[in-house]
């Protein structure tokens, strides 16, 4: 033990010395370039002297530019999507047969836990921050985010967080967490795996990151708007980001505290969630879902904003009932804090409380439906152009309807008591998270691909991506809804039920359908990756400043205006060529 501590001490000392050495080098470079312009001491970076951005890896490590940070968030989130997706593919193959013959139940549980946490906290929240960082300043006419350095800190908390969350798999000799993403006590207190502690710490870091990001978005939208942007003409995506950030501000710190209490229970002998003590085990569920339900709206509101923003541009008309979309966003923001106990209907809480949570849960479907009707009416009699972003928007609306309606059923206590903890719930939220949220993300990536890369994606491949995703999603998750009706419990690694009590053949068949759907989804996503990478590297540079033909319909927007300015620059609009809006660079 003493030797180990000594080794650790030496290691930490070396890390600190290394950091100090690195910093003096970077600081040196900065001092010369920032002041001297032409007379640069460090040769190779001279070209960036006036830009104040070093080259290569150091540029990405030190950037505080909102567009760079947006790209970093995006790349990080897509890597997480791949990791979480591959984990779940292994699980789906395990479920092809009733027996547990591909991986052990322990590994299944670990993948299940990690898949959920990865998708929600390492893919969902960061990919939204990616769009927010890149576009909010452009959309509201700001030079950058209000706090560029805090913005960078918020991003850089994510990679250590991810390493900790995956730590149980990465570090040999320790078992990964098997608590499921909900981390219910007493299981999560009693599970001795070090992997669970690491995961909780990682989760805490991502929560701190999300909170910092949210503060930044709120301040930016309130104080950094350009002169011609006011509350009346603020775009819909910024509205949803603002609301989402507000929800984050109330939800994530609470999760952070609940996690710290759990860590203390696990490591330092406190009894916050102990059976029969103080709060008892149910306290965790209240705290977790007080965060957890708002979290689902944290994840869905900005994608709704993306769809509300993108869909009208391919329908040739303005968003129908803009004001009501904003009001319903705000309404959801408030109501989302009043429904958490619909996740706890079967825990034996007071029936009067239960009924009131049922009422609010049914009520929250109203603003969601308002939005849905607005999207449909926007398309009604419009001149629809079925480009890839539009296909994904329509897919969003369609999947969101199924996901939302199944949610309304679950919100009704008698129905929930039957369907709780079955695959029906899994089908419900995947229709929304995969079928809607991920679809909106893809719509955004395709729609703004010309801005991110200066290139155009390959349209045929994008359509393949859409149709495979749409079919895969519906095959997989509709099969899950049906499995739920057969009361197939969720979170099971194997399902060798007695055929006398369960229709085992039908259940097996539906599981196999879900796996086939997942394979279709996977093929679609491989095409997506290929399309993005190859188009980015090899497509011809796009010179059209209005690739979506928005000017004709009067739907041209600020961020494409900014892109047009960039293209108009003499040196061909390299990304490096200018600061936002072009003014900052001009006065040097």
């Amino acid at each position: 033990m003493a030797g180990q501590q000594l080794a650790l001490t030496v290691l930490m000392g070396l890390v600190l010395v290394g950091v100090a050495a690195l910093l003096t080098r970077i600081e040196d470079w900065r001092r010369y370039t920032a002041l001297a312009g032409g007379a640069v001491a460090v040769g190779e970076e001279s070209g960036y002297g006036h830009r104040e951005k070093p080259s290569g890896v150091i540029r990405w490590l030190t950037t505080v530019d909102h567009k760079d940070i947006g790209i970093l968030y995006g790349v990080f989130a897509l890597i997480s999507l791949a990791v979480g997706g591959l984990m779940v593919m292994v699980m789906r193959f395990e479920l092809l047969t009733p027996a547990s013959d591909v991986i052990s139940p322990q590994l299944y549980n670990a993948f299940l836990t990690s898949h959920g946490i990865t998708m929600l906290f390492l893919f969902g929240t960061p990919i939204i921050a990616a769009f927010g960082n890149y576009f909010i300043p452009l959309l509201i006419g700001a030079d950058d985010m209000a706090f560029p350095r805090i913005n960078a800190i918020a991003f850089w908390l994510l990679p250590p967080g991810a390493l900790l969350i995956w730590g149980g798999f990465l570090i040999p000799g320790i078992a990964p967490s098997q608590t499921s993403w909900t981390m219910y006590t007493p299981l999560s207190v009693e599970q001795a795996h070090l992997g669970a502690d690491l995961m909780l710490l990682g989760l805490h870091l991502t929560g701190v990151s999300a909170t910092m990001g949210a503060i930044n978005f709120i301040v930016t939208i309130f104080t950094e708007r350009g002169e011609d942007v006011n509350w009346a003409n603020l775009d819909i995506f910024s509205w949803t980001m603002l609301t989402q950030s507000g929800i984050i501000l109330f939800a994530f710190p609470l999760l952070g505290s609940a996690i710290v209490m759990l860590l203390l229970d696990r490591n330092l002998g406190t009894l916050f969630y102990a059976v029969g003590e103080g709060g008892g085990t149910i306290l965790w569920q209240h705290l977790f879902w007080f965060f957890g339900h708002p979290e689902v709206y944290i994840l869905v509101l900005p994608p709704m904003g993306l769809v509300s923003y993108i869909l009208p541009r391919f329908a040739g008309r303005k968003l129908f009932g803009f004001k009501f979309v904003v009001y319903s966003t705000l309404a959801i923001g408030v109501l989302s804090f009043g429904v958490w106990a619909h996740h706890m209907f079967s825990t034996g809480i007071d029936p009067r409380l239960r009924a009131s949570f049922m009422a609010v849960s049914l009520a929250i479907a109203v603003p969601s439906a308002v939005k849905t009707f607005n999207w449909i009416t926007t398309m009604w009699n419009g001149r629809i152009k079925l480009a890839a972003p539009m296909l994904f928007c329509i897919g969003f609306v369609s999947n969101f309807i199924i996901g939302g309606v199944t949610g309304v059923f679950l919100a009704s206590i008698p129905v929930d008591l039957v369907l709780h903890d079955t695959y029906y719930v899994v089908g419900h939220f995947h229709y929304i998270i995969m079928g809607a949220i991920a679809f909106a993300v893809f719509a955004g990536i395709y729609y703004w691909f010309p801005i991110f890369t200066g290139k155009m994606y390959q349209r045929t491949l994008a359509k393949w991506h859409f149709w495979l995703s749409m079919i895969g999603t519906n095959v997989t998750f509709f099969a899950m809804l049906l499995l739920g009706y057969m009361e197939m419990p969720r979170r099971y690694a194997s399902y060798e039920f007695d055929p006398a009590v369960a229709p085992l053949d039908a259940i097996t068949l539906l599981h196999q359908a879900a796996t086939v759907g997942a394979v279709i989804l996977l093929i679609g996503q491989i095409i997506f990756v290929w399309n993005v990478v190859q188009s980015w590297l090899e497509a011809p540079t796009l010179t059209d400043e209005d690739p979506w033909d928005l000017k004709n319909d009067g739907l041209f927007t600020r961020e494409f205006g900014w892109n047009a300015d960039r293209l108009a620059l003499p040196d061909g609009g390299e990304e490096e060529a200018m600061a936002d809006g072009g003014e900052a660079e001009a006065d040097q």
Partner: protein
Amino acid sequence: MSEQVDAAGGYRRASPWPVFVALGFALSELGIFVGLYPVAVGGLLLLAGSVAGILRESDYATDVWRPLAGLGVAFAVLGIAVVGTQVDPTTLDVLAVVSDPGGIVGRGLAIAGAGVILLVVGLVGYLLE
């Protein structure tokens, strides 16, 4: 803050500190909760150092020494408070807990230790400059 203009009159687009603030935060948390004391101390030093650096860089502080010393005091107080929770209130026998540090006391001592180091570094730097 987006209005900051540096000496050369351009907008700052790069800063070396955020990565290290994040890393320092992650390491301190890991060290303190898992009970890896050297990691805790090192992480806190890295965190405080880069927070001081970022404050200096963005002109919220005129030098790095005062923020360092200030954070040192804060950590020291926090660490002592953590240790204090384990002292028997009837005997106030501090030595008994400190000479045989268990889980909580060890963590408190690590935090306080990092604080003392920072305070010393801050004071020395301030006096020498």
